[in-house]
Assembly symmetry: C2
Homo-oligomer: 201 residues x 2
DNA sequence: AAGTCCTTGTCGCTTAGGCGACAAAAGCGC
DNA sequence: GCGCTTTTGTCGCCTAAGCGACAAGGACTT
């Protein structure tokens, strides 16, 4: 209700420039460490003026944040089609996607990525929260006390999911992701079932 | 001498826009026929406004011309490093590249491409001419009469090469490109050897 | 034939992006 | 410490790109 007509009339040049910048950063990070990448490098690679960079992002850290956010968002949305109905299957895919994302990131940046782990955590949880809130908010129109609000449930669950996946991803001998998801799914589901109208499988 | 400081101070936005447009056209041609592609389609794919298209090209035919020209240029330059010294080996690579290009084009556009064959012919011969002229112009500073000028030789040779390769590419049972090049190389070379300072192998 | 729909070009006006230049702040060798 | 280079931000001025709207031509249906 409050946020409705988003991403409508954005100047296409702005969209393109941001796209170019974040693509440039992703490309560069395959070649060298984030620290050694300069704003100049990014601008050059993106075929964009350095000044233009600053018109869009505070600094390279802000761009990194935005980039990671977009990556996780796209990956989540591709697996969970925006307004899909809630189901244990959707939830499974959701958790699985986070597994793959974290595994991919730790594979690609073995050590140096420890410094932007908090950043990733923030972005991933935020996106998880958005998906979950959208799921839970739909059927709940009746106000029943003694039940958590969809927002509360979404918040708790997003933290729970991230925590579980993080632990999984940090094991050096980790089981297959599918296996892991099967094990933690009941845990995650337990909290959700307290919310109004969430189906019990 | 006359044309020296080319491609220096071109606004990067212009370069980028043209690049985007020609990339968009190439992508679209993998999906549908050139005739059925509209300016709108190209602009959309390139994330560029339709009006901007007209600021750069007369119509889609002009873009096609420019695109083909860039494609053949890049392919030639990648095989023959700009100011490589002339040698039979370079010449072989040159002819081979034209073979591959024409084969690729006729493979990709089996029938519909007959209509822009003249267009391709023009662009390919022009680029061939440029490469050859650069080769032949280098050592020739002594003016000897009764010998063709580098420009004449380059012109004749570019036509000869294109003609030979075209005939080869239109055979339905054609020999391997390398085989073919070996056979016609002496023919091509014969004319070049009349030019000052061209080494006889 | 008249009807709609789409594509093609072209027009001002607005906005984002490119540029040169600058000062401030890091790096870095010595 | 001290120069030296590189990087970082920030300033106006200029130019390319986006937009809405428009007329004019096809193409296709009825």
């Amino acid at each position: 209700m409050l946020l409705e007509q988003e991403e409508k009339k954005v100047d296409p040049r702005i969209k393109r420039t941001r796209q170019l910048l974040q693509q440039a950063l992703m490309d560069l990070m395959k070649e060298k460490s984030f620290q050694s990448i300069t704003v100049q490098d990014i601008a050059e690679r993106a075929t964009v003026n350095r000044v233009t960079f600053y018109a869009h992002f505070e600094d390279k850290y802000a761009l990194l944040e935005h980039t990671i956010r977009e990556m996780i968002r796209q990956q989540l949305r591709s697996q969970v089609p925006e307004d899909a109905p809630f189901s244990t299957e959707s939830l499974t895919r959701l958790i699985l996607t986070v597994c793959e994302f974290l595994a991919e990131m730790s594979r690609r940046c073995p050590l140096p990525h420890t410094q932007f782990e908090p950043l990733m955590e923030k972005q991933i949880k935020t996106e998880l929260y958005e998906v979950l809130r959208a799921w839970l908010a739909k059927p709940s129109s009746a106000k029943s006390s003694h039940r958590p609000t969809p927002e509360q449930a979404a918040m708790v669950t997003s933290w729970a999911i991230y925590g579980a996946v993080l632990q999984w991803s940090q094991q050096e001998r980790r089981e297959p992701a599918r296996e892991f998801v099967k094990q933690v799914l009941p845990l995650i589901l337990a909290g959700l079932q307290l919310v109004d109208k969430v189906p019990v499988p």
